[in-house]
Subunit: 344 residues, 3 copies
């Protein structure tokens, strides 16, 4: 499939600067551009690559004016990042899609499989599971007893969904993620810890994406909830009895302890830790590596361990490296004041 700069501009409602017959049939990062490729420039950190890129066409924001000659044809659009996202989605939707149940898949006779599903070799769909139409399950994924998975989901290879859990429509589960392992609950006794049975489930609502090797534990009773539109990156831990509110996004390696309730539209940087049994309000922005020990009202940016307003954290961090100087000044000053006092 080949497109000209003119066709791309029309598709995106943009305008062309340069040869409008320049044609492309693939994508490339601007710094790895090659003839026949389409690139984009959204983050101005990368502007210098524009003047050397070999790509044939580059998408830029409408208000951008090059500060040097550009060999590539420019297509100017309202939002270069959104436009490239649109083109990538079109590209991906054109890839062939597989369907049918591989004869080597182990689909229980007591499971119900919707129309147009693809189930790969050695995937296991256990007794009583229900898979919605158009869902793809790649090899080695395990869909436990009585699990319900919605329509048009993608379950990548080597995913584990424990018994009775629920996954909504249009969800993507990446390889190695584990949905519904037992919550970490034990009662101490003099002879060791006794396991507290975790008889609840996990409920993942519609339009959720769960990263590779991310874990969402089943509830002690009732359900752990991952609400509509949530996006979890790789290696995230959501403990039992938690609720992650709609449209909240968490970067890689975030960990949330048990029974914590997180609001809507929050953003978590990587490696953040959240204590158990607390509430995080809507639209809380959490800086990478923060440790949240207590409830947060929302509509605030926080950072640090324990987390404080992000501005305070940054100001204090700047001072942190001068602590030895501060200590030294303080000691000198103390001596000075003693001297002054003795003189008076």
């Amino acid at each position: 499939m080949t497109f000209t700069a003119r066709q791309i501009a029309e598709l995106l409602g943009g305008s062309v600067e340069g040869n409008d017959q320049a044609s492309v049939n693939t994508f490339a990062k601007i710094e790895e551009g090659k003839p026949g490729a389409l690139s984009f420039l959204a983050n101005m950190k990368y502007e210098h690559h524009l003047y050397t890129t070999e790509s044939s066409v580059v998408l830029v924001n409408r208000d951008f004016t090059p500060s040097a000659p550009v060999k590539a044809t420019l297509v100017k659009v309202d939002n270069a990042y959104e436009s490239v996202a649109k083109l990538l989605a079109i590209y991906e939707s054109m890839q062939p899609k597989r369907s049918g149940i591989d004869p080597r898949a182990a689909v229980s006779e007591k499971a119900v499989i919707g129309e147009g599903c693809f189930i790969g070799a050695y995937a296991v769909v256990d007794d009583g599971a229900v898979i919605g139409r158009g869902t793809t399950i790649l090899p080695h994924s395990y869909i436990g007893e009585r699990v319900k998975i919605g329509e048009d989901c993608t379950i990548n290879a080597n995913v584990s969904v424990y018994h009775d859990c629920i996954v909504g429509n249009r969800c993507i589960l990446h390889s190695g993620c584990v949905i519904g392992a037992d919550g970490f609950g034990f009662a101490p006794t003099p002879n060791g810890y006794e396991k507290i049975a975790q008889i609840g489930i996990v409920t993942i609502e519609d339009d959720v994406e769960i990263g590779a090797n991310t874990c969402v534990d089943r509830s002690t009773m009732g359900s752990t909830y991952v609400r509509r539109g949530v996006k979890l990156d790789n290696l995230v831990q959501i403990a039992h009895n938690c609720e992650v509110g709609s449209h909240t996004v968490m970067s890689a390696q975030v960990g949330v302890a048990g029974s914590t309730k997180i609001g809507e539209w929050c953003m978590f940087g990587g490696q953040v830790g959240v204590a158990g049994h607390i509430n995080i309000g809507d639209k809380t922005l959490v800086g990478a590596q923060a440790g949240i020990a207590g409830s947060v009202k929302g509509n605030i940016a926080i950072q640090g361990t324990p987390a404080i307003p992000a501005k305070n954290f940054m100001r204090s961090s700047v001072i942190f490296k001068y602590l030895p100087d501060i200590k030294r000044s303080l000691d000198a000053l103390t001596k000075d004041v003693e001297e002054l006092k003795s003189k008076l």
Copy 2:
């Protein structure tokens, strides 16, 4: 299965307040209560839900007195949390248990499988492995050559146990955990790092639970040890040559570097990091996200990076956010003192 409040009280040695014929057939969190469900109240943070819950029966501590009218029947017991754990265990023990070897499992002719085991579809038990009686192995788990697994274990789906490792009795391995991958050992050379062969094993003793996607690496020689009764949450990393002492519990995403020895009955909060080649004494309590750089004697609560006594950490953390003020005061004071000195 339906039980009355009276029957539950008798089972738990408790007393009934309210309608002793109120009956339940399931469990619910107190805030998600519904008719026919049993809930519990142990953490007083949740007390307000007691007065609105729809659950039919609520377990409470014997010394608890409601401060408002309660619709549910109360069953008063010595310890509500332990009592609900007991009921959950009974509930779970009543679930049907599967046994037998699925014809699609790949069990080596040179493996030995105990009586009453369940081995699911596409599980692989390799040459020379020994599986104790009553153990469950779910689909896609890989039990390597000469691995020994004890009795009454549960190996969930997609677990990997590398060759020669040993797992005790009554252990639970959650999905995606990896037991016995090579320790991270390399010798630097001018041309790159040379791998140091890791010919040791991992030994997991009795009554251990290993969380989803947790990794315990094999030893360079000898064994990495996870002692009796240890509970590791999800996404934990135990490096080669380590020893984790009996009844130590680690929350999610803890990482322990190589050759470190951890005592008994320690508790680690989430995302703690521990340096290599050190000793952590018995009953060390480690706050979430702490970084332990040197050996610790034990019987102490520590926190922070590098970790210090938890009380100190909390006191200093409170001051941290005032660092800019401290700097400013100090600068002003220095000026004042200079002035005073010049005046004298």
Copy 3:
């Protein structure tokens, strides 16, 4: 296989102290020594075990002189650690190697498998994949469509390699690692986040080792790169569009956000976090749990969050626990100075 102290010394270019006919047939840690075992002493923290070990032969550095009688035969070599690595490599190379394709593996007719490969039960090699000669693929690994894997690689059990990714020669992928999951890219809209298709790949060059449950995400376009000789420990996260330079090593649970470029010969301690869209120069040494927010020139040791030169971090950390004392002194001093000022 049994070797005498004399034979070992000859193999390693070392000299014998003690009975040169002492013979060994296995390895043991020095603190777990037993008759017939070979141990080594490289880290002097463990010297006291030398005087009590039951091992028959101990490798030590040539310049080491015992400070008490030693029962074991000593073999003195230039570098005990390197020598034991050499012996372990010899030991491991003598283990039998499997080859052939298990009839229960699902190898596509459109895949190309090199000579001398071993492909275990239930491994899946999808359409268009190419596997180099001598490569081992253990059970339940998924090699996606059009993936290229080089020669003499080891793909352990339960590995997932998404479509179109490239793995070089002599690479080791540990269980549960995920190569090529979608990068974490979304465009916000008022109704939720829209997925940005990730149509790029992951390229892993020669001689790379990837730890258990580690994730390397595919690029939005182009490729995420893990260069020659890189060693990643377990549970590491490499986000989309990143490049990890040759011979860089990362300890467990490190996370690198998207589009960051890391130089050669860097060393990362455990649980380090690295922001997106930055550059880390060659030979940067990063202390455990550091958080790197901005670009780093290289040839420097850094630590802390946000990361500062390691020496500064350590000096300031020492002061951190005295912050309450500093605050108190400062307050007292302020009062003193006020008094002095009023007196003048």
